[in-house]
Symmetry: C2
Subunit: 309 residues, 2 copies
Amino acid sequence: MKVIKKIKEMRHISQEVKSKGIAIGFVPTMGALHEGQLKLIDVAKKNADFIVVSIFVNPLQFGADEDFTAYPKTFSRDTKLLDSRGVDVLFTPSDKEMYLEGYETYVELPELSSVLCGASRPGHFRGVCTVVCSLFNIVAPSLAVFGEKDAQQLIIIKKMVRDLKLDIKILSVPTVREPNGLAMSSRNVYLTDEERKDSAVLYQSLILAKKLVARGERKAEKIKAKMRALISSKPSAKIDYIEIVRKNDLKQVETLEKMKIDVSQPFRVEIKDDFLIAVAVWFGKARLIDNITLQIPKLSVSKNSKNYH
Amino acid sequence: MKVIKKIKEMRHISQEVKSKGIAIGFVPTMGALHEGQLKLIDVAKKNADFIVVSIFVNPLQFGADEDFTAYPKTFSRDTKLLDSRGVDVLFTPSDKEMYLEGYETYVELPELSSVLCGASRPGHFRGVCTVVCSLFNIVAPSLAVFGEKDAQQLIIIKKMVRDLKLDIKILSVPTVREPNGLAMSSRNVYLTDEERKDSAVLYQSLILAKKLVARGERKAEKIKAKMRALISSKPSAKIDYIEIVRKNDLKQVETLEKMKIDVSQPFRVEIKDDFLIAVAVWFGKARLIDNITLQIPKLSVSKNSKNYH
């Protein structure tokens, strides 16, 4: 595995690989790798013949009060893991080269970035989109792989790629969990033993929501109240948000029901409304997030619209 | 010359051309072509072997009260001109495909976009950057050519390319003028005969500024006052702005002098301060812009900094 620091050198490698007709698969990371990220690499390898992983702790996506300087760094361990996983290039640019003097260009999706983690972390997704866009322009991959644990990030990146006409396929990989259900995250190292035990409640709250929906509950407020009660039972938990949103636009819903078909529309509109149940909870110094996607099988249609089934 | 409407088809052509190792030169336009834009194409042809010109009147860069729907359209004339100039592909995407349903991704340079035309036209440069970024991603050129008449646009695009690590060389071409000095622009068709005559004063005011500087005048306010008096002498002129700014950051200056070297800095910093004198003036329905760049030859240094010469 080659370790490349300079943008120019990375570009040169990508150009050479592509000139041979070989597809590049890319996994951007901030290092401190865990099994979840290694799964992304496995998926990249299944879908591309040359794998680039970046490690770049991106200052632009951290708020002033956040853990940028404390973010865990395990570089030599990461390097060994990536090498043994069959990665071709590890790209580790410097802050200085990524953000040249007088830097001021931002890529932003204001609507999708204003809710959920974006509401708690203003500027976060602007930072993510900007750096991912730059990394894409340097690495020039055919596909890139992201984790479903960061559901909002995945949705935003997919839309950015679509909107800015980037010729890159975005693949996603289901969340990898610890035996107790805790979603793997580089930030889990911040947890004390007790917090780690308590934090299992995140996934338990999502499973509870799923069960409630399976039993017929459709009111978002009722589901959220029960999740809140369960999470709050852990003394170390401090809830940031519990939200139920429509997955295509991240808008909050009151009821988990398929959107009614508007019979005033002349043509049937394809209605995709998967729901995302997402939580963010502080345990000590760690702000942890988790989510599940729910599909509501039944299609409710208004009485006048039978012919639109 | 091929005329291509579909993004997918344009991408396919670009990939094929690039796979043969041929460099693509790109000139994005809004059509209603004039000799100024045709010069951009000549420069593209000198520097690349396959030339793509786009015609796309980008709704995102027009304000609500601006001339989006009235913007001149001379498509069949444009097509003939481009064909005769040796263009390989004319790319004319639809609004609908460029801005898909639910579009919400923006590329923005907030500082450089807040002054000059950006102050008069909020959102304009966000629209320009966003569409240019998308067009770059579709056409995948090695180089792109822009006119120096749109000085602020050129500076912003260059910085966007640098910041987002786009692997595209930006070339620029000096303003092409009518015999009376009026800078060529698609919007000149809005002018009545009288306004067209009067509008020669734009370039005359820039020449006046240049003369004043050559005679030793360094106070921006004095230069601007004389330019203002000259332009105001034309009854149809309505000044939007007259500005003198440092070209590297578009910040207003009080005096046209090389920045003093800060002797508290341990190393000599390279100081590039060309000045941009820029004007925007309404003549009837047409908002016309023009500019010149001035280089101030003498380097002023503070008394304590002789060793930094």
